[in-house]
């Protein structure tokens, strides 16, 4: 029906636009918060160039005046925004390098770690949740619940330390941090779906498990699973801090940790805003995909 398709497409378009707007507002607000933090952080007024003995009084005064102009948070934020629009995110205090360069250098490793970690954790979570839903064995369910519960009780940093101790890749540590959350949600959703009357009927009629999963269960739980997948991106990105810091991997997480220890706020807030943008993108993407899936099966 063309009318219905057009309506669905319009609604999807609206949804994308709404998410885009929400993301823009969040990033702008986050940026304002970050600019305020940087502006009021101790040491903001200090410029080490002012201590250069070769500068005369007029030059030192000019440097002070330049700093004074940035005292107003709104003006400081506006200037930071303008600079950011041209790709200039400032200079790291502790590393003395442009923040943009540092981010470009570190991004690929974190991206790889997080992607592999998410892939591993979701593969394991879905495989275990599916087998739990198919077999419906109480002992199997108890074992998987205990194992996932154990991982849930371990701090992410301890899993990172253990991964160093047992010499396993950092991506596996991220996978183990994300796994218990994704498994529990996937298991609950699948268990609920497999107790629905139409799926019980399909099983009774002898339909293959794969067909039941793809044709009957997934349309029901797909949007919720996608939403959980979006949230798990945030968990994985957060886990990158202890994993990279303690495993000696030069990514975003390690950079954020070093910036926190050195109180390098310009670098830290830029990383945080960027990470927020990534998690927002993941969540919005999952929402839009879920909506599209719901529309497809409505």
């Amino acid at each position: 029906m063309p009318g219905r398709t057009t309506l669905r497409q319009t609604m999807l378009g609206w949804s994308i636009a709404r998410h885009g707007l929400a993301m823009l507002v969040t990033v702008l607000l986050g940026g304002l918060l970050s600019a305020t933090l940087v502006r009021f952080a101790p040491g903001f007024d200090v410029d080490e160039n002012q201590l250069d003995p070769r500068l005369n009084a007029a030059s030192v005064q000019a440097l002070r005046d330049a700093r004074l102009q940035e005292h107003n948070v709104a003006r400081f934020y506006y200037k930071s925004l303008m600079r950011a629009a041209h790709g200039d995110l400032g200079t790291s205090i502790s590393l003395g390098q442009p923040v943009t360069t540092l981010l470009k250098q570190r991004a690929p490793l974190t991206l790889r770690l997080v992607s592999i970690g998410l892939l591993m954790s979701w593969s394991a979570a879905l495989a275990l949740a599916l087998s739990a839903a198919w077999w419906r064995s109480a002992s199997y369910d108890a074992v998987t619940t205990i194992v996932s519960g154990l991982f849930l009780c371990l701090p992410a940093a301890v899993l990172a330390l253990l991964s160093v101790l047992w010499n396993v890749p950092g991506s596996l540590a991220i996978a183990l941090i994300v796994f218990p959350r994704s498994y529990r949600y996937a298991r609950n959703l699948l268990a609920k779906a497999y107790s629905l009357p139409h799926i019980i009927t399909a099983r009774a009629k002898g339909l293959s498990e794969l067909r039941i999963l793809l044709w009957h269960a997934m349309p029901v739980i797909g949007p919720q699973l996608l939403a959980v997948a979006g949230v798990s991106v945030s968990v994985a990105v957060g886990a990158a801090i202890p994993v990279e810091a303690l495993c000696g991997l030069a990514g975003f997480g390690q950079l954020a940790w070093q910036a926190a220890l050195a109180r390098d706020l310009p670098l830290l807030v830029n990383i945080t805003v960027l990470v927020t943008l990534v998690t927002l993108l993941a969540n919005s993407g999952a929402d839009v995909l879920g909506q599209a899936l719901r529309g497809e099966h409505a």
Binding site: G30, A41, L150, C153, L154, L161, L246, L261, R263, T276
Partner: protein, 269 residues
């Protein structure tokens, strides 16, 4: 399940009791150094051995447990109070208030928890006295951990706002703060208790993460986070297994909380 909850309760009582009796069980204290016995294995004098500068590990575990287990609930109390203030009031007032409060909540929720924690921790001076570092760490946890609870409370308060008994109270002339205090807040109590208890293990784990990363409680005060940092230098698990005692204790305590909370989570949902 009931037996599991009873066992969890007993375990928690034993751990809390032992940590409160730290002064009696380990009278030497957490900071005393036995220089002649640095990095010693377990013995009759030092049940869990000593650390690299000769401090008794058993005493440090007991005192560290006391700090983590007393301050995590304090942080949970603060976060629950903030959640009521932001979420509960926003849900009760509704309209623009609810939209603004939830927008702020969403902004906080979109930041990964650990990134937010270390960013705010970095704003505070790192070279502070140990006592100040304890307060700063748990204040940050409490001040930033209110967001998910605020969402739940906002939704619950919004439902209560349009309930029959609140409409009746409003019709009989009770308004504003009095209506919130007498009719809405008491009905938020089950959700509040649930959120409070759920926050405790989250804060215990967050403190442990911060401590391992060197952004938590400062030396010489022990906490589970700082005690777990010892694992960083290990070469193999079998080498010095007694160093895993703080980790085992943490897992046991958090698991016990999870058991106890299985019912609370249903209420919070």
């Amino acid at each position: 399940m009931k037996a599991g909850r009873t066992l969890a309760c007993v375990v928690l009582l034993i751990v809390v009791g032992a940590s409160l009796a730290a002064g009696w069980l380990a009278p030497a204290g957490y900071a005393k150094q036995y220089r002649e016995a640095a990095d010693a294995p377990p013995s009759a004098q030092h049940w869990l051995g000593t650390d690299e500068i000769g401090r008794d590990r058993f005493a440090r575990v007991l005192y560290g447990t006391r700090i983590s287990l007393l301050l995590a609930p304090a942080a949970a109390l603060l976060s629950t109070f903030l959640a009521v203030l932001v979420g509960g009031l926003a849900g009760y007032l509704g309209g623009v208030w609810a939209r603004v409060a939830m927008a702020v909540t969403d902004l906080f929720l979109s930041l990964p928890w650990l990134f937010l924690l270390i960013t705010v921790r970095a704003l505070m001076p790192l070279n502070v006295s140990p006592l100040v570092s304890v307060l700063v760490t748990f204040l940050i946890l409490g001040a930033l951990g209110w967001t998910s609870a605020a969402r739940v409370l906002c939704a619950t308060a919004a439902t209560l706002r349009s309930s029959d008994f609140v409409c009746q109270a409003r019709a009989s002339g009770i308004r504003g703060g009095r209506l919130f205090w007498i009719h809405v807040l008491p009905n938020l109590k089950p959700v509040l208790y649930a959120q409070f208890w759920i926050s405790i293990p989250v804060f215990i784990l967050s403190e442990a993460n911060l401590g391992i990363l060197g952004l938590g409680v400062a030396e010489p005060l022990p906490s589970w986070g700082s005690l777990l940092r010892e694992l960083e230098g290990l070469v193999s698990v079998g080498e010095e297994p007694w160093k895993f005692v703080p980790l085992i204790l943490l897992v046991v305590v958090v698991t016990s909380f999870q058991f106890l909370l299985s019912k609370q989570e249903e209420v919070a949902a």
